[in-house]
């Protein structure tokens, strides 16, 4: 019996991935973590309010997926050279040092584009939500933040 034909991403429509939920998880803004993040930014590590970039970091770390897992949903790997496209953070309330956030996320868009120089590419949008623990939507309490991101997957064989 022969092996199944390998998947050609340029011939595949990934629209059915829209709505796919990430496994989710939790992320704690431990003091050591908030201190080191501010320090890497050459910002004040002793500020009591965690740096806003931790909203994105918490979402990614608590999504329940590795980058390789996410790339594989789109038949891609790190070797294909996926790139950040856009990012948006909405903070409904400031982050709190020491808080543990429930993280949920999902794929929200997939769009095939063809650039004059870059050729075919899939632009995948996903969003990550942070909630405080408690009763409420997405298995958590108060909605603290949402991060939207897009990843560009080059499809060079097209």
């Amino acid at each position: 019996m022969s092996d199944p034909s390998p998947i050609d991403p340029t011939d595949t429509d990934y629209a059915d991935r829209v709505g796919r939920e990430f496994p989710g998880g939790e992320y704690t803004l431990a003091p050591w973590r908030t201190w080191l993040v501010a320090d890497t930014l050459l910002d004040d590590p002793w500020d009591e309010v965690p740096h806003p970039v931790l909203a994105w970091m918490a979402g990614v770390a608590g999504s329940g997926l590795t980058w390789d897992d996410l790339f594989a949903w789109f038949d891609a790997s790190a070797e294909d050279g996926p790139m950040f496209g856009e990012h948006e953070t909405t903070l409904h309330r400031p982050l709190e040092g020491g808080a543990t956030y429930k993280v949920s996320g999902r794929i929200v868009s997939v769009e095939r584009k063809v650039g004059r120089r870059a050729g075919a590419m899939d632009v995948v949008g996903y969003e990550l939500d942070l909630h405080l623990p408690g009763a409420g939507g997405n298995g958590g309490g108060e909605h603290v933040a949402r991060c939207y991101n897009s990843i560009v997957f080059p499809r060079r064989s097209a």
Binding site: R33, L36, V37, D39, T40, L41, L42, D43, D47, V49, P50, H51, P52, V53, W56, M57, V60, A61, W67, A78, M83, F84, G85, E86, H87, E88, T89, T90, L91, P94, L95
Partner: protein, 141 residues
């Protein structure tokens, strides 16, 4: 002295300029659990035919802009929304400048909010990030 009460369309946010430190990028790679060697391994960069200076992480580039906005507005808790497009790389040793200008000021339920056009550029080079951000200037009474 200019205060937040004086902010209007066209107000220029005090820029933040800094030199990107490759050692900090190594710490961020660990914090992100990001195994991509382009952020720390100069030998891997050479093998890829890239500039041997490590490539800064996207979150650090975003963070410089957020720091600029927070310092201007009086705290990290003042940032409401932050939107950017990634346009280019920043390398270890680059000097970057975070900058912004107020495009709109309006009253909302949360208080007086400024929408700002923002960008991060490599000094002597290209724009790495551009976008907009909403910042709370004054809490609603």
């Amino acid at each position: 002295m200019t205060t937040l009460a004086d902010v209007e369309v066209g107000t220029v946010i005090p820029p933040l300029e800094l030199v990107v430190d490759g050692e900090k990028m190594k710490v961020m790679a660990a914090l992100l659990a990001d195994p991509n060697p382009i952020h720390f391994d100069t030998r891997a960069l050479a093998a890829l035919g890239m500039d041997e200076r490590p490539v800064n992480q996207g979150p650090l580039n975003m963070g410089y802009l957020q720091t600029m906005l927070a310092r201007w507005a009086g705290g990290r808790d003042r940032l409401l929304t932050f939107r950017v497009r990634f346009r280019g790389n920043v390398l270890a040793g680059d000097t970057v400048r975070a900058q912004g200008t107020v495009a709109e000021v309006r009253d909302t339920q949360r208080g007086r909010v400024a929408t700002c056009d923002i960008s991060l550029e490599v000094v002597g080079g290209d724009v790495a990030l551009s976008g907009t951000a909403d910042v709370l200037l004054e809490e609603a009474p």
